[in-house]
């Protein structure tokens, strides 16, 4: 990164300058303190209390079966007194549904990131070539990224329908051709549903990977390739020894951004499976949402949201550590 303030104004200027530099930065900082830091700390303190509230009505039913989320501290009436407790954190250890949700979330993150990176990389390679219609192709490839995730989820639901969709039609044709029944129960089976959700998310976000990696490829100077070709390197060798290593930094950034975004997944699941069958496709965000709004268990929801935060931070740290080590090895 370039030195941002190498030639910048002096640090300790006149009082006037101290005021003006505060005027520039402080609105954003204060805004984030009020609407991000303060709520987070508040939520942390709530997670150590027993705070219940009646179920709330939302415009979309994300209820599901309420049995698994029966409030733990139901005997404590709504926010009476403040007694500190670790109960919410203890409860997490034995909450089967929470473990499923955590596992599902990790599956979405890892599956989604892998698929999106591999396909995104291939498409970036394609767009990096010179061919007629390249600009049109770039715009077409970008389109899924703009779509509202809820809308993408409905499209996916239509296209993964086990009876009325073109791919179901194709499955029937194939079955009659090979005389062997193929019928994928996309949303009827937990594993297939997980795959469908990953596919929908990937359809939408592969363009993100493609765009970033393409920009990275375009920033690699042409003479490196020339030199390699003169030395008689094959296309595959160039890809493996030059393009891929030089793209590692941007690849890591892109994967990290996508990974962190997939941790937030909820809308696609609400629309396609509603978390089902059972709670087989429920994500952590969805479980937190339900715990707070449907079951009204605010303090437990707050506690889980901190567990999610820990998971996210762990993911980012581990990923960056491994990524940097990998980058060093592949360049050396």
């Amino acid at each position: 990164m370039t030195q941002p303030h190498a030639s910048a104004h002096k640090e300790e200027g006149r009082p006037h300058e101290r005021t003006i530099k505060r005027i520039f930065l402080m609105p954003a900082v204060i805004y984030l303190l009020l609407l991000s830091v303060f709520p987070m700390l508040w939520s942390l303190s709530i997670s150590f209390t027993e705070y219940q509230r009646g179920a709330m009505r939302t415009a979309v039913d994300v209820g599901g079966d309420a049995s698994a989320g029966t409030p733990a501290g139901a005997e404590t009436p709504t926010g009476q007194g403040i007694r500190l407790t670790l109960r919410n954190y203890e409860r997490m250890a034995s909450d089967q549904r929470l473990h499923t949700a955590a596992l599902n979330t990790l599956t979405y993150v890892i599956g989604g990131v892998l698929l999106q990176y591999v396909v995104g990389f291939l498409l970036a390679l394609v767009l990096h070539q010179d061919f007629w219609g390249r600009n049109i192709a770039r715009v077409i490839f970008l389109m899924p990224m703009m779509v509202t995730p809820v809308a993408a989820a409905y499209m996916g639901r239509m296209l993964f329908d086990s009876r009325l969709s073109p791919q179901a039609h194709l499955q029937r044709l194939l079955s009659s051709l090979i005389g062997w029944e193929i019928s994928i129960p996309w949303f009827g089976d937990g594993r297939w549903a997980t795959l469908a959700i990953i596919l929908i998310d990937s359809w939408q976000w592969i363009p993100f990977m493609t765009l970033l990696l393409l920009a990275g490829m375009q920033s690699i100077p042409e003479d490196i390739y020339e030199a390699a070709r003169v030395d008689g390197a094959s296309s595959f060798q160039i890809l493996r020894k030059i393009t891929f290593p030089l793209l590692l930094p941007i690849s890591l950034t892109a994967i990290l951004i996508r990974g962190l975004e997939i941790f937030k997944i909820i809308d696609i699941i609400v629309v396609t499976t509603g978390g089902g069958p059972g709670s087989a496709t429920e994500s952590l965000t969805m479980y937190i949402f339900r715990t707070a709004l449907t079951f009204g268990n605010f303090s437990y929801a707050a506690a889980i949201s901190y567990a999610l935060l820990v998971l996210v931070v762990l993911f980012a740290t581990l990923f960056l550590m491994l990524g940097r080590r990998f980058a060093r090895q592949s360049i050396a």
Binding site: M1, P4, A8, H9, E11, K21, F24, L25, P27, A28, Y31, L32, L35, S36, P39, S43, A59, L123, V126, F131, A137, R138, V139, F141, M145, M146, V147, T148, P149, A151, M155, M158, L159, L164, P166, A168, W203, L211, L212, I250, T253, A254, E261, F263, K264, I266, V270, G274, L284, T285, F289, A292, L293, A301, I304, S305, Y306, L308, L309, V312
Partner: protein
């Protein structure tokens, strides 16, 4: 460089195949919005006039009978997204300029300097929104902000400011400082230099930031679901709510969904280069 025939063929095959993957869902949505319920329930029908007779009923229903509801929710989305975009662009441009041009040293706060502050701000963007479910519900019901436009705008601004600031900081750092310095020498105040000289030069960056803020806010689901229940419901929540009313009416949902995604997809088609630039500015150098 000349490429072999089979390489060109493979290239075009991938391009065409992936274009189909990208476009077919839109085609399916579009044609479904013209299918009769019968044409939908009798299995896949592909081409209008060939294997089904199109009808404009669902669109008429959407814009006539449901016209007022649709207009209200469309307006909600527009207000929330526009408000959050304006706020994020203003806060982001100011903060980004501060971090690009001045030195900060928060002695009483972890001894943070510019890079720490910038990192802290961008990290806010990646916090899981689930963290805010409980405190926002409490805060908003206490402030009577549930189901209001201003409430949505506040929440959306919160998650738009970090990357707006990040992208703008990056943009300002790439601008030569001499122009501002000569303006300061000519007697302009720093604020005047910022508004009259820097901002006009930063139009491309501002456009990128505005597009991203708008699209993110337009598409946002979790906060809208949590913080609205009737008056201020935005389009994504309206669409998701079609899930369980009177069974799934694919033909109607298709028309509704197309209406909701049309603005952002059009933005994407027309302003593609700003999107690419904004994305790469934020990620490559960061």
């Amino acid at each position: 460089m000349r490429r072999k025939f089979w390489q060109r063929t493979l290239l075009y095959a991938v391009v065409v195949l992936w274009s189909i993957v990208c476009l077919f869902p839109f085609y399916w949505l579009f044609t479904t919005s013209f299918k009769t319920p019968l044409a939908v329930s009798r299995g896949p029908r592909y081409v209008p006039y060939v294997d089904f007779q199109p009808t404009g009923d669902h669109w008429r229903y959407l814009f006539n009978e449901q016209g007022r509801t649709l207009a209200r929710h469309f307006r909600n989305s527009l207000i929330a997204a526009t408000g959050a975009t304006v706020a994020a662009v203003i806060l982001g441009a100011m903060g980004g300029y501060g971090l690009a041009r001045y030195r900060y040293h928060w002695r009483r706060f972890f001894n943070w300097r510019n890079d720490n502050i910038a990192f802290w701000i961008i990290s806010q963007r990646f916090l899981p929104p689930a963290l805010f479910v409980v405190p926002f519900l409490l805060l908003y019901s206490w402030l009577n902000l549930i189901d209001t436009h201003i409430g949505l705008i506040m929440a959306y601004t919160m998650f738009n400011v970090p990357f707006a600031l990040w992208i703008m900081r990056d943009f300002f750092m790439s601008l030569p400082i001499e122009l501002e310095e000569s303006a300061l020498v000519d007697g302009a105040t720093p604020w005047q230099a910022f508004v009259r000289i820097v901002l006009p030069l930063s139009a491309p960056g501002l456009v990128s930031v505005a597009i991203f803020s708008f699209v993110f806010s337009w598409n946002e689901f979790l906060y809208a679901l949590m913080l609205t229940n009737y008056e201020a419901i935005t389009l994504p929540v309206l669409i998701a709510g079609q899930n369980n009313t009177r069974g799934i009416q694919w033909w109607y949902i298709s028309a509704l969904t197309l209406t909701a995604v049309a603005p952002v997809v059009l933005i994407g088609l027309m302003l593609e280069r700003y999107i690419t630039r904004g994305l790469t500015a934020g990620a490559i150098k960061g």
